[in-house]
């Protein structure tokens, strides 16, 4: 049970990390928020922190052998999910932006 929760936490943190990474770029930040102001610079750092956090969670849940295979697959899945949302449903990323502007 804790294993499933750790994996879920890893997936969510990968996705939030990727979403922040995308929105740290002005083009995507404007597409999501509609604001012309530049995205906060700390977003990039937090994004990387979330991705490293997801690596640690995956390794903790699955051990080194399965962990090192799962993590890059989570990265790819999250990155493509973010890219497809930016293409068709950028408003779905707005809540991440809202947290980032608090």
């Amino acid at each position: 049970m804790t294993e499933v929760m750790l994996i879920c936490a890893a997936v969510v943190s990968t996705w939030v990390g990727m979403a922040l990474l995308a929105m740290s770029q002005p083009r995507h930040w404007q597409a999501v928020t509609g604001r012309c102001a530049a995205p906060a610079r700390w977003m990039l750092g937090v994004a990387w922190l979330m991705l490293i956090c997801s690596l640690l969670l995956t390794l903790q849940a699955q051990g080194p052998a399965f962990g090192v295979l799962l993590w890059p697959m989570f990265l790819g899945l999250a990155a493509s999910a973010v890219a497809l949302m930016l293409a068709w449903r950028p408003d779905w990323l707005r809540w991440v932006a809202r947290i980032a502007t608090v």
Partner: protein, 514 residues
Amino acid sequence: MRDSSSLAGLGWRKRVSVLHTWAGVSLGLLLFAIFWMGTLSVFDREIDRWMMPATRVAPVAIDAQYLDRVVVAHTTALGAETSFWQLQFPTDRAPFYSLTVRGRDGRSHVELLHPVSGDVLPPAGSLGGTGFIFPFHANLLVEYRQLGTWVVGAAGMAMLVLLVSGVIIHRRLLADFFLFRPKKQSLRATLDLHNLSSMVALPFHFFITLSGLVILFATYFPGIINTAFPDDRAVFEQQALGDYRRAPAGVPAHAASLSTLMLHAQQRWAEQGAPGVPRALRVWHPGDAGSFVEVRRAYLDRVAMTQQTLYFDAVTGATLFEEHAKPVRTAQRFISGLHFLQFDHWLLRWLFFLGGLSSCVMIATGMLFWAQARSARHAAHGVSGAKWVHGLSIGGVTGIVIATLAFFISNRLLPQDGSIAPDTRAAYEVLAFFFAWLIAMLHAARQSWAQQCWVIAVLAVMAVILNALTTHEYLWDVLNHGRWQVVGMDITLLVGSVVAAVIARRLNQREAHS
């Protein structure tokens, strides 16, 4: 004004771009076929269950007594003409015992045994995923002088070159990382999709290609083994692979209980700190005083395909040899394991399936971009190159998908009552695959992705309906019985059908607008 060094840099990148373009165009079709079949091979055993309804038995736990109760009786009945036999134990993905018996004439035959009753299951009459789709991926079904293996290896090397050169020529790697603009003109959208599918799954593309090459090190670099072990290949097999062999004594002898040996092996693995179940049990020279038993541990719980093989004297039951994989061997087995995916891990299996699909999208959009970018220019100059590449891309991409579906459909349409010999039936399925591919290739001359996508959408639904009609296992029934392998294949076919229909509709709309 640029200085000369940056111009030289530009020239180098341009040259890499030419390499990427031409290696991609000339090998795209081959790479797509290898990656498509490899992606399907992720679920080869599930495809087997779908195509071989007689093997859809409920999984049971491995029972040591099964060996003495069923297998020994079965192999003894085969008589003294047996020189070797191997039993593969059931897993959730292949829930039956598989017995391979080799006669003194060197010929082997395989029988599948029901995991409870021990009855021989009827012959499948199909090559299925493990007999057709996987070998297509590994050697293009060309076994003559390992030619197919070498072609696949060369394509794998080219894939590594394409990945590295692709990263070099991608000008706005980070700036365009998340960029996909489906509403832009189709050339732009194709390139976006090519870049996106390449970049998000880059680690996957890279390690899956590299591991595919590492698996076959003994084929691609035979010189290494010959140099390190110049005199005797058997020494390599014992020291590096952990194989043990001894010759028959020529004196008949009565064998000890195999069930007891299996329990003994499990106890030994537990002592080694890795309790587990056996994957395979092999008996060499059965009935002879020199007979020995080889027990291999299943690697369902780990990535590395290390087997901790134990060898016992078949008569006395004494331990003869224990395999302890050395670090390099373990590393090679780990790299092989992440390619062969023999472990029980559904999440990772699905993620690898998606990774494989993204490789397919990357290759297909790469070829499509080449043809799209040149179609107007080639038409203006009266050159037919772009037209040919475009047609071949359609035939190689949607065409092989159509061929695969024809393979599945023929499996459900050909009679299963034994009126066709099993081998002939299996051959007809392969014939259906290549015939459908040929038709799709010829139709590709019409340059219509949309039409072939509609065909995919229809065929995929047809396969699901035919499975329900011919096996009387309906989607909702199977949900109740928990046979996830067949349900999974049916649902994947339906999802594929919807995706193909959506793509076909969008392509039709685009054509209507332009």
